[in-house]
Symmetry: C2
């Protein structure tokens, strides 16, 4: 049975965290909205499911429809060994994922601090103020947190154990996205938090991930997604 | 073994979602930072845990330390029957909780749209713009979503099944908090989404919750928490 992923077809967005997990697992899946007629399927699924999602992405897995990125990853982690099976390991991986989700929401709000319903151009001065604070106070706090975990005395190459989890895949995506969105800030910050780049590289070198990144299935970053490059926000 | 909850002692904040679950479950717990010397314990726990939390709340359960509200609730749900045990029910409950977490983050940002590191007074015009959009577009979208679930043909009295889950407790807290923060907007909106008030009432009438709400353990709402009443944001 192939999974069906429902997400916007032209952006990486939040769907990308799910795509990375599916690709690493070598799972069979259909990226529904990227097929002919798929957008209609996405919109009608949003309207008719008994377990509706507030927003894409959501994943059909047999009889189940699962929404919310971290929840989908919780499920895929259990199915495909992308998280430990023990309670402590399973919950710790999920905790890291939820912290990444918080960071992703803050990244989104750097370009949309006032309203998702407005264009970036309608909230540009506010976006500049918010981005400056994000680079100055928030990003160092998040990077310090993940670096501390990657460099603690028990740490191996990955956040949780000697094997990569869905949280490692997601942290890869965040580093990659932030390099695209804030290249100047990242040049400075990656020097201060040197554990992050190698983690990103280890994920990128996983055979299934490397094949995916080189394929047309990987949508390029663009200014409709979460990670947007607006030079005026990266000073 | 009593749980130990680590959270700021003088606000409901995000810790309240955990307190409500512990109270409904009748679980033995210590609200560490509300005891004499507890703030020192909280700060040192933040610094020394091998599984550190990015921010409070976190919960010590025997050998485990669990952070992130939704993750703590996932655990408590499994331990105390506050969520179904089946995969579909367990994941659906968690999906609802994560959607509530998204709403809570947006509520926080109505008074802090630019930076958590600044005072509300330093971002007041932006807070007014963001709050207006929140009341106009976001809150109706979230309320419409939860109402649709509460009123679907299979729905019983609760979001997930014939028994309350941690998601019901959290939705109670959101309605209660929004009534405190945005009384004018809520008067209008609760008329349009009439399923929410009765859900709130059913939770408030649970014996353990009613006892908790009447006890000194329930911190009153105030302007340091997530739900803040600034009349100028509620017009």
């Amino acid at each position: 049975m192939a999974y069906e992923l429902f997400y916007w077809p032209s952006i990486q967005g939040r769907g990308e965290f799910v795509r990375l997990a599916l690709e690493e697992a070598g799972a069979e899946y259909v990226d529904v909205a990227r097929r002919h007629g798929g957008m209609d399927l996405l919109n009608s699924a949003l309207d008719t499911e008994t377990h509706p999602s507030f927003a894409p992405p959501f994943l059909k897995a047999g009889e189940m429809t699962i929404g919310q990125v971290a929840n989908i990853l919780l499920y895929l982690g259990e199915q495909h060994g992308l998280a430990p099976r023990t309670d402590p390991g399973r919950l710790w991986t999920h905790q890291l994922q939820l912290t990444i989700a918080d960071l992703v929401a803050e990244i989104h709000d750097t370009h949309h601090p006032i309203a998702t319903s407005l264009y970036y151009e309608d909230q540009k001065p506010e976006a500049q103020r918010r981005s400056a604070d994000f680079i100055e106070t928030r990003l160092p706090k998040f990077f310090g947190y993940f670096s501390r975990i990657l460099t603690n005395p028990e740490a191996r190459d990955w956040l949780v154990s000697e094997k990569p989890t869905y949280a490692d895949l997601s942290l890869f995506q965040v580093v990659e996205g932030l390099r695209y969105a804030f290249p100047n800030a990242m040049k400075r910050l990656e020097g201060e938090y040197p554990a992050l780049g190698p983690l990103r590289d280890r994920v990128a070198a996983r055979p299934n991930i490397a094949a995916y990144l080189a394929s047309p299935r990987r949508v390029p970053f663009n200014e409709n997604g979460i990670f947007r490059h607006y030079p005026e926000l990266d000073e």
